[in-house]
Symmetry: D2
Subunit: 200 residues, 4 copies
Amino acid sequence: MKALVLNCTLKPSPNESNTEALARVVMTALESHGVETELLRVVDYNVKPGVSSDEGDNDEWPMIRSKLLASDILLMASPTWLGQMSSVAKRVLERMDALLSETDDQNRPIAYNRVAGFVVTGNEDGAHHVINEMAGALIDIGFTVPGQAWTYWNKGPGPGESYLQTDYKHDWSKKTGEAAAANLVAVATALRDRPIPAPK
Amino acid sequence: MKALVLNCTLKPSPNESNTEALARVVMTALESHGVETELLRVVDYNVKPGVSSDEGDNDEWPMIRSKLLASDILLMASPTWLGQMSSVAKRVLERMDALLSETDDQNRPIAYNRVAGFVVTGNEDGAHHVINEMAGALIDIGFTVPGQAWTYWNKGPGPGESYLQTDYKHDWSKKTGEAAAANLVAVATALRDRPIPAPK
Amino acid sequence: MKALVLNCTLKPSPNESNTEALARVVMTALESHGVETELLRVVDYNVKPGVSSDEGDNDEWPMIRSKLLASDILLMASPTWLGQMSSVAKRVLERMDALLSETDDQNRPIAYNRVAGFVVTGNEDGAHHVINEMAGALIDIGFTVPGQAWTYWNKGPGPGESYLQTDYKHDWSKKTGEAAAANLVAVATALRDRPIPAPK
Amino acid sequence: MKALVLNCTLKPSPNESNTEALARVVMTALESHGVETELLRVVDYNVKPGVSSDEGDNDEWPMIRSKLLASDILLMASPTWLGQMSSVAKRVLERMDALLSETDDQNRPIAYNRVAGFVVTGNEDGAHHVINEMAGALIDIGFTVPGQAWTYWNKGPGPGESYLQTDYKHDWSKKTGEAAAANLVAVATALRDRPIPAPK
């Protein structure tokens, strides 16, 4: 079983990413279940605006898309800005819009029988909403979202420390992320064994 | 397999409910898969404000809650007001907050291995957002949301006709609702056969 | 100048309300600007479901509505449940839907030249989203929302203490609430002196 | 009085933009009130990811930012993808995050006394939510959002025609956009004459 982790931080490598730090906690948990994981920092790639699978002109979305389609689990990881997901996360969702009209060899929408989970960090309030926006878009595309398939970290009220600047309640985010990993693996396994069939 | 449909219209029976009319399209599809369905119009019951499982004083949530826990599939159906879900739908979500701290006989959060789908109608824009808000809350509680497990009907821009006042694009809402029903049954079946285990 | 504060807690009086405690901080700030304030705990009243100005059958919304229309400033105060506003806040917005079709003696939508601000508390993440949902609905109805016309308190990640259980960062919520009060008064004053005219 | 219109379509010039077509309806209305307008298609510029005012390396946000600060009115125009705003609109909001820590010569947050309005188009449902997300972020930054300061166009249910492919209900979107323009001008004028003072 494979998981692709898309870190949607605004900071290009090699800058430190709080979102990546928490995503790696969930990746470790996924690996403990035997899942092969790979993390891409999306902002390092030239993902062009648009809603087709290849926008041409050195668009690097096709590379990310192929890794996505080779995975059973998608983990979207986003920072929080103004209480909302990053523009990089939004770009990723937009590019996945094209999946809506693609089907697999059994005529199933191509996102069917894949599961999605979420990691959100912030120096302020907003995580639930960021999760809901990402989940809603992916469900629309055809991903299944298992119960409690997410974790987050922030600390309110008002702007404050980032995840890597403190140890405050990392334990909660870790425990919640481990449950998320277990649920993602369980539902991905269930759908591998008992897949959603093609629509009639 | 059982499905409980919660119609969260603001209109008490026997008033005509657009939301119920579209919900019944999905119910018929669920029944064609052998699912036993029951619809409750929540506003007909005394569902008290609060976040416990029984707020006392003739609270009728416990009755709804017991039907919910006897079901494999929850179908939330809401009208759209000001682009948002109804207060009745919000009340239902609030009352389900208590499920967060309940576990089954295998120590699993009680909403695990249940699936949720959505029906939204409106005389104006807002359905995607209403779906995402309901889905986000139920995922938080532990429900799994299958890909494309919803349908909706509205017709923009600006306020206009309601679902039952026209035949416009009922076919799209029906076809989408039938796919939702199939996906709900498929994922509920997968989770019955390969359930999410208790968190460690 | 008058301000009506609608406390949308789920807890009837005389239960302690965290939301009311923070709302009173903003009320004190409003009073320091010479504004007359009144707080209603909406759950204490029989506010019936519906989208008309009077749903009959002992509906107490008409009383709240008349106080609302006698005020220049509306302060909506809501707790956070599952990252979303309370069902009581949603009910209030729904009942205000009827204002969309009412005009004043100069043929202006009746909510024009009124301003709205927000107070949100929670034992977990969600405040920005609750504010945005309330603001969006009120802007739709015709209220003007001044910049930075809100304050909130919560403390993540995960569920934890409520506002009244700790002094943690009350200072931030107070300072932010005082700025909100000043901005509400400033924009209400500007609109009293230079009102938005009736649409052509 | 000046208005800057940021068209957040995903399509670079000279591609036809539905969002621009509706934005120009509102621009014409603004001009009828004597407002000088300028439209930028943001995707034509190199707006780098980040949350500072200048991310260097040929970042073109500083040019947009200077036009923004020279304007009294900001009109954000976004298409709808998966029920949400475009990644370009999200990028613009992120870059405005830096305004939170900037003040003018009277020590006022730099966005104070500016007003914001919204134009949304889509080939499917989602406009109210896109408006609320943009409005919420701009209110956080300090912009004032007048009542009914937006218009939109879409036509549900399900995906369908785009704005320029039909004349269906263009009249509603135009009338609503003209009211939005009038309200933006009225509140911008009120705040020019009776500005929000610096926080104490």
